[in-house]
């Protein structure tokens, strides 16, 4: 089965500093990849998606992610963290045989310090 690994369960940054949330996937094919954000007591909201068009993907709220096939990585970045970015982030990969079935990473909780 496909798997996705988020390398950090918690990340803490200061407001105004860069954010890096790491995601690796195991795959013998080129999957669709997504990042979602979840604020407390809310559902998940799409940040961005990769679908083989361009390796650098821009999302909402200033987030970006770069697809690196050689490293099987899809890390999420933002140049300058804002207090409102504090949330949990999930990396998601599509299934090899059913492109509308997905596997979620275990999540990374981002804390932003003032």
């Amino acid at each position: 089965a496909q798997s996705v690994t988020q390398l950090d369960s918690h990340v803490s940054v200061s407001e105004g500093t860069p954010v890096l949330l790491r995601c690796n996937y195991s795959s013998s094919y080129s999957p669709s990849l997504f990042w979602y954000v979840q604020h407390p007591n809310k559902g998940l909201q799409l940040l961005l998606k990769y679908t083989s068009a361009a390796t650098l993907v821009k999302g909402i709220n200033g987030f970006e992610a770069e697809f690196k096939k050689s490293e099987t990585s899809f890390h999420l970045t933002k140049p300058s963290a804002h207090m409102s970015d504090a949330a949990e982030y999930f990396c998601v990969v599509s299934d090899k045989y059913n492109f509308n079935k997905f596997y979620f990473g275990s999540g990374t909780k981002l804390n932003v310090k003032p």
Binding site: S9, P31, S32, F34, Y36, N41, K42, G43, L44, Q45, L46, K49, T51, F90, S94, D95, F99, N100, K101, F102, Y103, F104, G105, S106, G107
Partner: protein, 115 residues
């Protein structure tokens, strides 16, 4: 614009009781999903549906049943609730094209406790 609506938002059950969680979407999406979210485990797929009248098992289907009698609704049933089913349940929907690049739209979740 309602999107995906889950009912109820909270529920407490006793072991052995049954209940049904309702998910409704107003976006004319073909695909619908039920996930459970447990601390440190991300979201795990329980069941999903690729269209009205169809259902399929996900990663953790045991102890749950689903039905998709209408395109806009996807019901998740617990026939005999167990403490291990204490979780937050999320419903999602998507257009479901073959390319798999359609994102999922999520409800706000149902927090279920089994005593």
């Amino acid at each position: 614009n309602a999107g995906v609506t889950q009912t109820p938002k909270f529920r407490v059950l006793k072991t052995g009781q049954s209940m049904t969680l309702l998910c409704a979407q107003d976006m004319n999406h073909e695909y619908m999903y039920w996930y459970r979210q447990d601390p440190g485990m991300g979201l795990r797929l329980i069941h999903y549906s690729v269209g009205e009248g169809t259902t399929a098992k996900g990663e953790v289907p045991d102890g749950y049943n689903v039905s998709r009698l209408k395109k806009q609704n996807f019901l998740l049933g617990l026939e005999s609730a167990a403490p291990s089913q204490t979780s937050v349940y999320f419903c999602a929907s998507s257009y479901g094209e073959n390319r798999g690049n359609q994102p999922q739209h999520f409800g706000d979740g149902t927090r279920l406790s089994i005593l």
